[in-house]
Amino acid sequence: MSRPSIALSRFGYGLAAGDTPPGDPRRYLLAQLEAYDPAPVAIAGRMRSRGETAEMVELVRSLRQDRRAAMAMTEPPEAMNAPAEDPRAAALEGLPPEYRTKLAEARKVLVADVAARTQLAVASPTPMVERLVHFWSNHFSVSVGKLGTQFEVGPHEFTAIRPHVLGRFSDMLKAAVLHPAMLLYLDQFQSIGPNAPFAQRRTRRGGDRPERPRGLNENLAREVLELHTLGVDGGYSQADVTELARALTGWTVPGIGRVGRFAEDQPSGAAFVALVHEPGARRVLGRTYPAGEARQALAILETLAAHPATARHIATKLARHFAGDTPPPALVARLEADFLATGGDLASLTRTLIDAPEVWMPGPVKFRTPFEWLVGALRLTGAAKLPAQRIVGALDQLGQVPWRAPSPAGYDDLAASWAGPDALVRRVELAERIAGNVPADDILARAEAAFPGALGEATRTQLKRAESGHQALALLLVSPEMMRR
């Protein structure tokens, strides 16, 4: 690949229809740091979830006795999870109308948010920074599948990730981990300190109904240490997980539960309820954190954000994303040093990537993920104005809908996860549909512009031999140049 081609496709989402390839690839990338818009108009109305989440959770809790309701309450977190569709549809039929309305509304909001995120990338003049948004959104992966998350996953990326992609890692960590989407997704919102005043009072009354949530849940604490900060070999123990889980008690979603009226709103969009917070000092990774209610978890997150293991973990993931599945050790070392020297300044890390010879290696270093491929295809063809439902449908068929990763680790960032026989068939099927609905003149010239100095002879030959412009465009969309970056 040539340097202009690398700047377009390895760093970004490829050339947009009508654009010309960059003359100075490095300056083209650096300029994006200045031009990036963290809060574009298209998502201006989606910065707050306006309490709908709590309303939905409370509604479902009131219906929980109804077993039919329980069946339809959960969106399938991944394709294989749900039981047969028919029982789900039947269950939906039997639901109270107010819940059906709410569910339909939640789905509509989710579809609109997925489409908005995709269209932002398709139309973006700063595609490299959009890639970073999606990289970090995947690092702090939240997934629909738990009740109410449909309203929150979009705002999680829009408010906890976007403002910080060129800011400080610690700010993004606090915003992303303590956002309602994450608190719901990893069960934090209902975790209660065993010695918290609320738990103690219930025990004294002895009126605790069985099956009601009433204690500590360590799911979020574990993933913060394993996935978001230190990494799995980062040197933490089960005791550290439990201590962080205790410190996190009290962080919940505004408006939920009987304790909701005691909640204090937090900048992350979450709420803190002191009544369910485990009292006392906590000890994590050998350091003691005095009792401090909401501030206690924030203090621990600050420490974790600056930890050398976190620097290494983040450096490795960034290097893998931009320089190849096997991250070059020298690049990892430079990113790590940069992270430690700047206190996790993500703009500085981005400049280090732009200046890294490892990221400018000529051969393609990555197989494009389905989302990267679709955004690239829509940019190239200029098919920006697809209806929201069609965009989501296409991503679903390709196997990578945003905010629907099968695990808190997010979607895999390895070729082997995406370069399968079935994936190729789907891209070919979709390419034919996309290409059939857009203008298809001068495809060879457009191919040369999209992959400047990087178009292979096999592709050029097939484009020339194609029966029509539309067919040539479909072939270009599945060409080796388009599949890899």
Binding site: R67, P77, E78, A79, M80, N81, A82, P83, A84, E85, L186, D187, Q190, S191, I192, P194, P210, E211, R212, P213, R214, G215, L216, N217, N219, R222, V232, Q238, G393, D396, Q397, P406, S407, A409, A416, S417, W418, A419, G420, P421, D422, A423, L424, V425, V428, E429, L430, A431, E432, R433, A458, Q462, R465, A466, Q471, A474, L475, V478, S479, P480
Partner: protein, 389 residues
């Protein structure tokens, strides 16, 4: 028939195979897989073995699981000690007719509690996460391909090839698509476009073959577990079909309100297995299904009616040749001091031994050699006596 709990004596008493096989590997492999089929079902997210097969005979269970035990009243029993979760009624019936067995208190060599590392270890068969690049099911495919005139078909029924099947041996994957099929003309041109590209060319060739096998499945996705089971069978039952299949099921990470969530996932598993068995028809007699998960869950319910990441769990073996109707377990007990690190069911059987022993017996491979190839660096012996001889 149903026997009582098998203890370690059963395992120890049957570990007599092996040495001869090492001396005569060619002979052992010359028997080949024939038309025997293997389906590996991976339960992603750590399925709760104690919910799947509840040790209702253990006096410690009540204190750990409390109200959720009401689910097992009237559930199918295996001996007096274990009860199969009622959502797995089809599996329970298969066990009672002698075609399914459970292994309990089993775990891989992994002793931490990360899903991703745990799944990595279970899928690669390595001794440490990320230390091995290919999957044990791919190495098994390669082993069966040795000396065979044509490589056998190995296939994941999934949108992406799972790690267990990734590696040097050629494999394919397939999942029903809701997209309209591409025109034949475009498909032919794509073949030419990829002809000189080593990676894309090979993937495309397998994609076209698998597509031809799965013609007109009438499905749009894999969400219906029963339809997924039927699809797997349709791709495996014929002579030209896949001999090795893999399918994944999610929804097992039940940190909160486990009773409903587990039952929902278990019903999906039960429906998938029932449809697969029916779909295989006469080929079921030569089929083994192995169901496993990365690790078990905490022995006691947590503060939110769920269970957290644990250690030992259960595995399920099912098929026409399985010596079923029993539970293989060296039961560790549920008293506080018997739990692993005071919280999890303690592992007493190596899951790798179960996998290697089961597939080796079923596919007529030398068990020791299969163990060494699929799960190298283990001291545990492959389990034996799983398949009727």
């Amino acid at each position: 028939m149903i026997t009582a709990l098998d203890r370690r004596s059963l395992l120890a008493g049957s570990l007599v195979l092996g040495a001869g096989g090492l001396a005569l590997p060619r002979l052992a492999f010359a028997q080949g897989a024939g038309h025997r089929n293997l389906l590996f079902v991976l339960l992603r997210g750590a399925a709760d073995g104690m919910a799947m097969l509840a040790p209702v005979g253990d006096p410690g269970l009540e204190a750990l699981r409390g109200a959720s035990l009401a689910d097992y009243e009237g559930a199918g029993r295996l001996g007096s000690f274990f009860a199969v979760h009622p959502a797995l009624a089809g599996v329970a019936a298969a066990a009672q007719s002698g075609e399914a067995l459970f292994v309990h208190a089993a775990a891989t060599a992994y002793r931490e509690r990360s899903h991703f590392d745990g799944q990595n270890l279970l899928e690669t068969g390595g001794t440490a996460p990320y230390a091995t690049r290919d999957g044990w099911l791919n190495r098994l495919t390669a082993l069966l391909n040795e000396g065979a005139p044509t490589p056998l078909r190995a296939l994941a029924i999934a949108q992406a090839v799972p790690l267990a099947l990734r590696g040097d041996a050629p494999v394919s994957n397939y999942a029903p698509s809701a997209l309209p099929a591409a025109s034949d003309d475009l498909l032919a041109r794509v073949s030419q476009l990829y002809a000189a590209d080593g990676e894309l060319g090979a993937l495309w060739q397998r994609a076209l073959e698998t597509k031809a096998m799965a013609e007109d499945d009438g499905l749009r996705n894999l969400r219906d577990a029963s339809a997924a089971g039927e699809l797997a069978a349709s791709l495996m039952r014929d002579a030209g079909g896949a001999r090795i299949g893999m399918i994944e099921l999610g929804g097992w990470d039940t940190h909160a309100n486990q009773r409903g969530a587990f039952a929902r996932s278990a019903r999906g598993l039960d429906a998938l297995l029932a449809a697969y068995k029916t779909g295989m028809g006469a080929a079921w007699a030569d089929t083994l299904v192995v169901v496993a998960t990365e690790f078990g869950r905490t022995a006691r319910l947590n503060g939110t009616g769920g269970t957290d990441h644990g250690t030992a769990g259960a595995a399920l073996l099912m098929g026409g040749g399985v010596r079923g109707g029993r539970v293989i377990a060296d039961w560790p007990g549920l008293a506080e001091r018997q739990l692993f690190e005071g919280r999890d069911l303690a592992p007493t059987t190596a899951l790798e031994s179960v996998l290697a022993g089961a597939v080796a017996e079923h596919l007529r491979l030398d068990p020791e050699r299969a163990m060494a190839r699929l799960f190298p660096g283990r001291s545990a012996k492959p389990l034996s006596g799983i398949i009727r001889s």
